[in-house]
């Protein structure tokens, strides 16, 4: 059974006079431990697909099964809970809560899950050490570089022990060195925790490092290269 199974997903936005077909009958599946990039020009539907995979948006038709569980048509409260327990997110920028420290940001997810204080503190420390920020636990986001903030975001995404992590253009705001460093770390997490990473990107540096590249254009599935 695939980790994520996307079946005949279509997404149409009808809020404007001319309907926008963001996704047209997309079928794809993802396995455990994948390190996959979804690429395509602007407007190709990458972010829409990622949002649907993450339960942040509902498809117009089709279904998404995660671990065999159909998340399409789930009630919102159930979806929120599902995201909390099974999906990690890394966004393009400003991922973190500015008034919390690095360790508090990572702990926050576990707090939402109801994890005990001692356990979440220990786990947060370990994860931040894994992403190379053992010495920046008490730093606030404003005291961290862009790359460091993204590392904390990855640690937070992993804190909830998700089935997979969705990263929407995580390197868009980073310089080359930070990008390389971030990707190194994510590959390491991919190997260490057998964590599936699915990126939406048009950063060539990310595409180079991906183990699998899925290309979308005009909402349609174009290519799937291993």
């Amino acid at each position: 059974m695939a980790l994520i199974d996307v079946r005949h997903i279509t997404k149409t936005y009808n809020s404007t006079a001319v309907p926008v077909h963001a996704l047209r009958d997309v079928n794809v599946h993802f396995e455990k431990k994948e390190f996959t990039a979804i690429v395509g020009p602007s407007g190709s539907g990458k972010t829409t697909l990622l949002n649907i995979l993450g339960g942040l948006d509902a498809p117009t038709s089709g279904e998404v099964l995660i671990g065999g569980q159909n998340i399409t048509g789930m009630k919102e409260s159930a979806l929120v809970e599902f995201r909390l327990r099974h999906i990690g997110f890394v966004f393009q920028a400003y991922n973190l809560i500015p008034v919390l420290t690095a360790i508090e940001n990572v702990e926050f997810i576990m707090l939402l899950q109801g994890v005990g204080k001692k356990e979440r503190h220990e786990r947060a420390r370990t994860l931040l050490a894994d992403v190379g920020l053992a010495d920046r636990l008490d730093s606030r986001p404003s005291q961290l570089s862009g790359g460091q903030q993204q590392r904390v975001a990855v640690a937070r995404a992993l804190a909830s022990r998700p089935r997979f992590v969705l990263a929407d253009e995580p390197t868009a705001n980073l310089d080359s060195e930070s990008t390389t460093s971030l990707l190194d770390m994510m590959e390491e997490m991919n190997a260490k925790y057998e964590m599936t990473f699915i990126f939406s990107t048009h950063d060539a540096r990310v595409i180079e490092r991906a183990h699998r590249v899925i290309t979308l254009e005009d909402g349609r599935f174009q290519e799937d290269k291993q």
Binding site: T47, N51, G54, L56, D57, E76, S77, V80, E81, R83, L84, R85, G88, F89, F91, A93, Y94, N95, I97, P98, V99, L100, E104, E107, F108, I109, L111, L112, Q113, R156, A157, S160, D168
Partner: protein
Amino acid sequence: MLFLLAWRNVWRNVKRSTIIIVSIALGLAGGLFAGAVMMGMGESMINSAIDRNLGHLQIHSPAYRRDALVSNYIRSPQKVLSLLDTLGSVKAYSARTLLEGMASSANSSYGVTITGVDPERERETTALVSMLVAGNFLADKYRTQAVIGKKLAERLGLKLKSKIILTFQDRSGEIVYMAARIVGLFKTESTAFDEMTVFVRQKDVTRLLGARKPLIHEIAIRLKNSSTLPATKARLASGFSDLKVEEWREIAPELAFMSTSVESFTYLFVAIIIFALIFGITNTMLMAVMERIHELGILMAVGMKRGRVFIMILMETLLLSFVGGMLGMLIGGAAIAWFNHFGIDLSAFAQGLEGFGSGTTLYPYLPGVMYAALTVMIVVAANISALMPAWKAVRLKPAQAVRVY
């Protein structure tokens, strides 16, 4: 951690939060102080009246309360006085003869209440002696003597040692004339009282009324502590069911009305201030939410339920309002305590205040229960303020919100 998050979010924009907190604090402090001044004024009027002649309790015959005739006197006053002598709550009492009549001089005449008193008893029961501006309180050598208000003296063109003619009716309705020497002039906070009250020795009017014993129309009672009023009243009422035992509120209902209405008005005044502040707080929190759309989107995307987001915004608003409210109560309370101790000198407005029967030094005060009530009002107002911003926050769609920068 939600509380910690809310607290830190309040201080994200230090300038903005400080401005709104200071606004709340100053608004509330101003309202509290204004209310305390009004209550102090009301309290001053009540205390002045009690000190002047009202006392805490008064006893009359029911007939006298209906019709202030000479013949409606208390039939067995000694029994009442004997009981009063035994009550520990009673500081002093004065048994008075009250006669409606006229005060005349060569120039003019004026309607007055002629009050026949035992000077010693009256001295212990009221503070009138301390309000003498000239002379003494019926302690002179003259055969018949009177103490009148300075305002009345001016009206009649009289002064200390002048002769005043008092006219009243006896029990049979015959007109009685009493020529008295003015031995004292008083000036109280009440112009009306000063114009309409004449004090004479009880034995003098008793003689002129042709009575063997003083005719007692009124017994004014001063308590050691006003908190014993209900119990003392009940004791007297049960002991003398044929007499009318009334507390100052019943004798002077206009004072009682003013006391309760000032308290109500203070609540209303502060409620209006808090209501106005709601808009300021709502606006501040709306700005805080609109600035954080992306962040709120991320929180909901990673798994924070809308209910928790709502509570977080609610907490931020409550904290903001609470800090401002507590600061306001602290500032207001300190100002009230300071001026309650030292008083506010309003002698520049003496004439106007005398028309109300209020003293010229005000001691603002606010009952403790009002601070508790205000805390509740602030919490309620904060919750109302939080509704719109919190609703705005939970209505966000995470997928759209995370793309707002």
